[in-house]
């Protein structure tokens, strides 16, 4: 069942310039939420809700964690909400990542695509290697959280101010020369997803990507969040909110 309501923010902090981390108390939602799903948040004064991925779920404490970047006026408004205040959201939405317990996973996060990688990597602990890329040291997020949940991390920055210099795709390419994970997960800019998907294909590794598209209803009723997909050789418009946001990479026409 979808839920809509106002839920209390129990912690909020800025974790990098313009990037906010919120924990929300919503037991009725948390119990049903899987990694890779998203929440649809109302921004006061704006007509449409803003979709944000779930970054962590704590079913015991009944909380969800979201990490988002201020991109425009709507996310700016949401970032002004404080601890103790209520946030209006619809959740849990979409299809999450398929997890294969006991297998080896590589998660690739580009910039603000990192938060959903934290959620899926949590399911794998030491069996997950998480490759993250950021513009520079000041934009780096969530590395300590990844380590705390036992993941191996590889950090890249475009300018080399933290971790290794270069793109996540360079690091992934190198890794695949010596290792063969069972599954690759990715979230980030389209160019990155395309490159990750083609490397996964070349190496015969199954790959799941989390996509973004502008949304209306968030539940699959209005059909605005279309993305070109292909199934059984046929091209069609899938809908990111209901068929995704996670898709098997081979079904996406980047």
């Amino acid at each position: 069942m979808y839920k809509q309501g106002k839920y209390q923010i129990i912690s909020k902090k800025a974790i990098a310039k313009g990037i906010y981390d919120m924990e929300i108390y919503c037991p009725e939602i948390a119990v049903q939420t899987e990694c890779g799903q998203f929440v649809h948040i109302s921004a006061d004064g704006f007509f449409l809700r803003r979709p944000i991925s779930v970054c962590a779920v704590d079913k015991v404490r009944g909380t969800l964690r979201i990490v988002f970047e201020v991109r425009g006026n709507g996310t700016d408004k949401i970032s002004q909400l404080n601890k103790g205040e209520l946030i209006d959201m619809i959740a849990p939405l979409g299809n999450g990542f398929k997890v294969f317990p006991g297998k080896k996973a590589v998660c690739v996060g580009g910039g603000i695509g990192t938060p959903p990688m934290l959620a899926v990597a949590a399911e794998y602990g030491a069996d997950a290697t998480v490759i993250c890329g950021f513009r520079s040291a000041s934009a780096v997020i969530l590395q300590d959280d990844l380590k705390a949940q036992g993941n191996r991390t590889i950090l890249c920055t475009d300018d080399g101010t933290a971790g290794r210099k270069g793109f996540v795709t360079d690091a992934l390419k190198e890794l695949l020369e010596t290792e063969k994970p069972d599954v690759i997960y990715a979230c980030g800019p389209d160019v990155m997803l395309r490159a990750v998907a083609s490397m996964a294909k070349e190496n015969g590794i199954s790959c799941q990507v989390s996509l973004e598209e502008r949304m209306g209803c968030g539940v699959g009723a209005c059909l605005v969040c279309a993305c070109k997909a292909v199934k059984n050789g046929e091209e069609y418009f899938a809908h990111v909110c209901k068929d995704g946001p996670v898709f098997p990479a081979e079904e996406v026409m980047f």
């Binding site: 069942m1 979808y2 809509q4 109302s42 704006f46 007509f47 449409l48 809700r49 709507g74 619809i90 598209e213 502008r214 949304m215 209306g216 209803c217 968030g218 539940v219 699959g220 009723a221 209005c222 059909l223 605005v224 969040c225 279309a226 993305c227 070109k228 069609y236 418009f237 209901k242």
Partner: protein, 303 residues
């Protein structure tokens, strides 16, 4: 408890609140928030004969108090609607309105003929979609073509027939009179207003279709005006929509002359909007000594 039931063009509904075509799918998604049997009816997504892929994304842009869409009638075709969606809807307790949108007069006629043999309660002929290259608004912006397509559909069905009008015209009352003369049992209005947004960083339209249809609270005053003018120009009943978000909006639309109302974009902000409107209408009637909601239809007292 006030009596919210209405009989609209021969169709009985327990309340006058209907989710608008294209904003509520076939009810399956919102049925996961609440029972859709609480609604008076549902106007389903616009249906074409063959499945239709729709326009490339982005298909939505935010605007002050509203949004633009350019979905372009993506749907699974009439067969899928009749075989897969309709039985599910008929297992619920609400009036089912089939919204049809052929690209040609002949396609509209065939759609009506197909649906005539089904359990659908009412047909809404969409002659006002701004997001398709053929048919759609091309029918609805000219009295002759509006009359021609209404005549063809009328000849193919004995179901109650409602024609959905476009606001992108010089005189909506002329179009309304033209479809009334061809045997339409009701009219619904308004469909979306053609609009555009540009991303000033990229100098590109936000919508891949460049232009799209505006809806949401931003269009409400235009919709009220058009419903008022139309209700005064024709003797068939009017279903009013465009920007309705609250029970007060619904009351205002009904006072302008709408016998029932549809709720569209407001759902995206609040999925419970239709239920809040139903509860609010009941409260409003009780507070204002109105026993039956139909009493207020067209009761605005113009200066």
């Amino acid at each position: 408890m006030a009596d919210l039931s209405v009989v609209f063009a021969g169709v009985s509904m327990k309340n006058p609140v209907i989710p608008a075509s294209g904003t509520f799918g076939y009810g399956r998604e919102y049925d996961q928030f609440y029972s859709i049997s609480r609604l008076g009816g549902i106007s389903v997504k616009g249906t074409t004969l063959a499945p239709k892929a729709g326009n490339p994304p982005p298909r939505i842009a935010e605007t002050p108090a509203g949004m633009l869409n350019s979905v372009g009638l993506q749907n699974g075709g009439a067969k899928k609607f009749l075989e897969y969606e309709l039985p599910n809807l008929k297992s619920k307790d609400l009036a089912v309105i089939a919204n049809i949108a052929g690209a040609t007069v002949e396609e509209c006629r065939q759609l009506a003929e197909l649906i005539d043999g089904s359990d659908v309660d009412m047909i809404e002929l969409n002659i006002s979609c701004p997001n398709v290259k053929q048919g759609g608004a091309a029918f609805g912006t000219n009295c002759n073509s509006a009359a021609e397509v209404t005549r063809a559909v009328r000849g193919a069905t004995s179901k109650p027939l409602m024609v959905k009008l476009s606001p992108n015209v010089t005189s909506i009352t002329d179009i309304a009179k033209a479809v009334e003369a061809e045997g339409a049992d009701a009219v619904s209005l308004i469909n979306t207003l053609l609009g555009m947004r540009i991303d000033i960083k990229t100098r590109r339209p936000v919508l891949k279709n460049n232009v799209g249809g505006l809806s949401g609270p931003a269009v409400f005053p235009i919709a009220v005006r058009m419903v008022w003018q139309t209700a005064n120009a024709v003797s068939i009943p009017v279903c009013g929509m465009g920007g309705i978000a609250t029970a007060e909006d619904a009351v205002e639309m009904m006072m302008a002359g709408a016998s029932c109302i549809q709720v569209g974009a407001a759902l995206f902000a609040d999925p419970f909007a239709p239920l809040k409107i139903i509860d609010g209408l009941d409260r409003w009637c009780n507070e204002n000594g109105v026993k039956n909601i139909s009493e207020i239809v067209g009761t605005v007292r113009p200066w």
